[in-house]
Symmetry: none
Subunit: 193 residues, 4 copies
DNA sequence: CATGAATGAGAGTTCATTCAT
DNA sequence: GATGAATGAACTCTCATTCAT
């Protein structure tokens, strides 16, 4: 596949991403993507065989870019509480953004492709999230910022809450106030007054 | 619509429920329900116009029956901690059951019919859950069983966690151990040792 | 068939008539008539087998009643010109009435059941109309009111014009002015100034 | 849409025309046209969305071709009476042809889409016909061929008669003799003996 | 590589007609 | 007689997928 093809594939993925953001996963047809990309029907099939494959590659692209952001954040030299706060703020931003989220598409896809496999993307993200938060809490305990008897339980709690708020945001909406209150509740459970 | 029709309608709803449990919402066609019910194509349309209507009536049926169960449980004369534990055990059972859950169908439906309206079923259930738990925590504080500075925050936390575990259960699976650990974490945050 | 059944049959025909007036022939289903009559599906089939049969009986009923009207008019003791004028006025009234006409239903039916048979209802009506007008013209000539070299041609002309105006009224509308002008044109061709 | 597609669209319209000639408008389904064209179900939808659209485009095609014929006839250098006779002969031919007429389809369509709008196709054709005939009559008067006190009335009369004969031809048949007699009646009303 | 016409499977929906009650 | 639930045929319309150019 030449350089030109790589560009076109990337173009399709970026355009398809918008379609998935708009319509979720199950509602998206190959026709939708063809039309959004303004390419020919046959043309799309040169690069992808199904909406499933397209979504998976969109998510892969997403993951690659997320790593970049992650790397940037990790270069910060803040305290554990600062980093955790920053992390939660980032999550809050994602939760509340209405117009750029693949959340629905991802859930719809994984409802159909549920797997308890270690490689399940959502599981990997969840586990990674727990590990990161756990480390932060442990660092916070070490530095005297936090008090916590069960760092892993607390980390899991935070991840479950975020997951819960994410789904609520997509099904009946969630206000900034609700998010703030819950994040405050979580931080107050950790911070030594 | 005579008595006979009422029976048949109920039969269709119960059969359709199984279909929604198996296939979620978006994957279910009128044809699927016709075949599951072993009735004629036209016959189904005598009772329902769309899979949407069928799902909504299934959920209504569900809600009516749930109210019954709820009423039964409320007659218990246990302490607040007992009742909360019972409630969480009930939730755990639901979370872990693999074969009888409308969860996926419900989420798929509400992804498409998201509304921040007070009447949104999921929102009502969430708010009701928070209220119940909050009352229990306050009762527990009053009786000296619990310690909690922010009962509403704690109640919301529990509901978000349950929601989070519910979606995780449907996308990458969740083990009994994980649920137990998290419920233990939650109870330990409340109970006065 | 008892007296009661006769009444019910008449009720169905009268109700069905309204349906045909509203929707023509091809658009009317047995269901439409059942609903308009507020009887059961099976009930309708006790009396009629098809919309075709119903329309035909409606037309028969119509014809019987029309004869009554015709008889009344024929008792007039006017001059030929008066009677012809009266006849044309009657036709004009029918042409312009928008809300009570079976015209469309009748044409739609006869498009599908065209027959050059002497018994074809439309043909009988046309021929009868020509004969009546021809007699009137001849009477007018005899009495010195009219001048006409070809009474049959003139009579046919009038009937074709009425037919033409009838169809135009149902397809692109026709104004009272247009009808009056044409009827005036016709009468002036006959009357001796 | 490429050249090839234009050809195919034309092919579909020509084939559909035959179907409308055979079955009228209301009896024609997309399936009928698909089968007549020997193309796939989906294939037809690439070009047309409904039988209505197809009929309208058939009529448009018809109108375009009719204009061509009209242009040819107008180059004649005959007298007014000759041209009028020619015109009526043309109408007669159309009236009597049994196997190639869209008349029924057109009426059926306009029964359902009656509009008194200036753009109503039938109205435009009627008005155009009246105007043409009126001009011919006036020309005939000027040249001393015709005598007529109300050229517009006479022109309308001719158009109504033609319309009337057209509908009669489709509902109970009309013989060549009947047409000839009526056309003769009309011409004799105009020509100076 | 790219196009877009073409196919055909399959879902939705309506209604004439029957039949047990 | 009368009811209305039930059936199944027929139609509409949409897409995934292929293939000649």
């Amino acid at each position: 596949m030449g350089e030109k093809s790589v560009q076109k594939k990337k173009y399709i993925l970026e355009t398809a991403r918008k379609v998935f953001v708009d319509k979720g996963y199950k509602n998206v047809t190959m026709k939708d993507i063809v039309e959004a990309c303004e390419i020919s029907r046959g043309g799309l099939y040169l690069y992808f065989d199904s909406t499933e494959q397209i979504l998976l590659e969109v998510l892969q692209m997403e993951a690659d870019e997320a790593d970049d952001v992650f790397t940037k954040n990790i270069t910060q030299e803040d305290t554990a509480a600062d980093i955790l706060t920053l992390f939660l703020k980032e999550q809050k931003k994602e939760l509340l953004q209405k117009k750029n989220s693949l959340t629905v598409a991802v859930y719809e896809y994984f409802f159909e492709h549920k797997s308890t496999d270690k490689n399940n993307m959502l599981r990997k993200q969840f586990d990674a999230g727990v590990r990161v938060i756990e480390k932060l809490i442990e660092a916070g305990i070490a530095s005297g910022e936090f008090y916590c008897e069960d760092p892993k339980g607390a980390a899991s709690n935070i991840m479950y809450v975020l997951e819960g708020m994410k789904i609520d945001a997509q099904t009946f909406g969630i206000t900034e106030k609700m998010v703030d209150e819950q994040l405050l509740y979580i931080m107050q459970g950790l911070i030594i007054e």
